[in-house]
């Protein structure tokens, strides 16, 4: 029976067909790990902000105004004498929550919609794409302004807004990936074996679409952080004196001359974090070889 090809040891039959695996593990590169490290650090700082021995970020006059970095105030103080390190760390909370939570939201809503549209096609698809296109055509800032002014300025609402804005692009990406995947022969094979739609989506489609969405999601998070910054810059994010990076930059921009740190530190944190996310996301996307897997 089947002469001689029975595989007896992993080594004999298991030499990888292509060297993708090993290349993947090795090839992420130093910059990726630097980026990931930075983002992780910022996340850790933000998560433990309450536990760290930091000054109250809103407390005025914990130090003299406009101090430079020192042991007492790692990044110095702003023109109100608030501790900049504490503010930047607490600001990270808002920015990161706005970034990650909103994209999670977008992924759940947009992902589901895209998945259903891409899988069912037909009328469902038409409705979803039309809605998504309408959302895309709708100026995001007007949407954001409307939601924020309607529901009030709170971290939750800002997050919700950015999540809402991210729904359409995410839905379109997921839809595309789903269509690409639903046409593959392993989906036909699963159906031949009698799998029902739910099972096919769960077992065959999601495992192939999720990496696409997830590898893009870091880039989306970066975009969402910038979006929060933009809203904050327009004074539409969280209420003062709660710090957020964008709000700090907007506030500190006018006092660049006397206390440059007020705007520069949050700018630097934001830049590095967004850069890190973009870079790590891009790397990951390259490495996950999204194209090869989903289309």
């Amino acid at each position: 029976m089947a002469e001689g090809l029975s595989v007896t040891s992993p080594a004999a039959g298991g030499a990888p067909r292509k060297g993708r695996r090993t290349a993947r593990a090795r090839g992420l590169g130093v910059v990726f790990w630097l980026s990931a490290g930075w983002v992780t650090l910022v996340i850790a700082l933000a998560a433990t902000a309450g536990l760290l021995p930091l000054a109250d970020p809103a407390a005025v006059g914990v130090g003299d105004p406009g101090l430079g970095p020192s042991a007492a105030h790692l990044l110095g103080t702003d023109e109100l004498g608030r501790d900049l390190f504490s503010r930047v760390v607490h600001g990270a909370r808002i920015s990161l929550v706005a970034g990650f939570v909103s994209i999670t939201l977008g992924l759940v809503v947009g992902g589901t919609l895209g998945l259903i549209a891409g899988f069912r096609r037909g009328a469902t698809d038409t409705v979803v794409t039309t809605l998504a296109n309408s959302l895309l055509a709708f100026p995001a800032l007007v949407l954001a302004l409307a939601v924020v002014t309607f529901l009030g300025q709170s971290p939750q609402n800002v997050t919700l807004t950015i999540g809402l804005v991210s729904v359409a692009p995410i839905a379109m990406v997921v839809r595309g990936a789903t269509i690409g995947c639903a046409g593959r022969e392993y989906v036909v094979a699963a159906r031949m074996l009698g799998a029902k739609n739910r099972r096919i989506i769960l077992r065959e489609i999601i495992p192939n679409v999720a990496p696409v969405a997830l590898s893009l999601s870091l880039v989306w998070v970066a975009t969402a952080i910038v979006a929060e910054g933009s809203l904050a810059y327009l004074g539409l994010s969280v209420q003062p004196p709660t710090p957020s990076w964008g709000a700090m930059i907007a506030e500190g921009r006018n006092t660049l001359a006397e206390s440059p740190g007020t705007a520069l530190w949050p700018s630097l944190f934001m830049f590095l974090t967004v850069l890190g996310l973009n870079f790590a996301g891009d790397r990951l996307r390259d490495r996950l070889d999204v194209k090869g897997d989903a289309t």
Binding site: S134, A137, F138, P139, A146, Y233, L234, F271, N278
Partner: protein, 312 residues
Amino acid sequence: MFILTRALQLAVVLFVVSALTFLLLNLLPGDPVHAILGLRATEEAVARLTAELSLDQPVHIRYLEWLGSALRGDLGSSYINHVPTAQAISEHLPVTLQLVAVSQVMALAIAVPLGVYSAHRPNGWVDRLASGFTFATLSVPPFMLGVLLVFVFAVTFNVFPATGYTSFAEDPALALRSLFLPALTLALGSLAVYVRALRADMIATLRQDHVTTARAKGVPAGTILWRHALRSSSLSLVTVVALHVGALTGGAILVEQIFALPGIGQLTVNSIFQHDYLVLQSCVLVIAVSYVLVTFLADLIYPLLDPRTRHG
């Protein structure tokens, strides 16, 4: 046929967008009547104006009324300063359009050679440098980038104006100069995406058999890059450019604010704050129309670039 179905789709999108705006504005707090009347908001004045603006009607009736007159080309006038909406838009829209156009020309002028060369020598030093540079620019939010550019090029070196707008019709050279920094701010944001898209497509194309065929024919490398590979590699680029341009019409708001440009974004923001809903409604519509038109244009460009996508 194709154009017809697309046009129909676009009409539906516009319908949904305008209806959505109406609904959204209806939900917004604040009341145009009080905003307009201010101190004069006596009870009967409120009632009179409410009726005048048909704010006492249910939303869908108002929407249909608005739609009816909009379709007849009547977009109404501002509640606040009574300037006809069409005039307000025709004053502000060209600014944004010129800004976006210049920014995209800039972005493409940098992105195309950079993308092509990066793909020609992937992981070469140009590629690495380009990717580092474009990622950095991608990661500076526009409000930081704008402030930075102003500080360097306008305040410190006085090379370009920090604010203001001159129309091309008036003085092309000055117009270019005054649009330079804001356009650059927008362009640098798009740059990374464009370079990545083109580079990826280009690398894929350069791996294709027909490129080998060309090499086997003895076609020089430069000709292969620019004549054989670029055109069929620009589909993704066209797509992302369309998406960016479409989004920029409404997305240049921050840049318009930083550079004090009287664009459609400013008009939109002002009309939101002033509850000038008729103007806002039209702004949203104009932004949506330009988005939709640009994506439509992209659809028309694909077949020009790639005959395989030609219909019929």
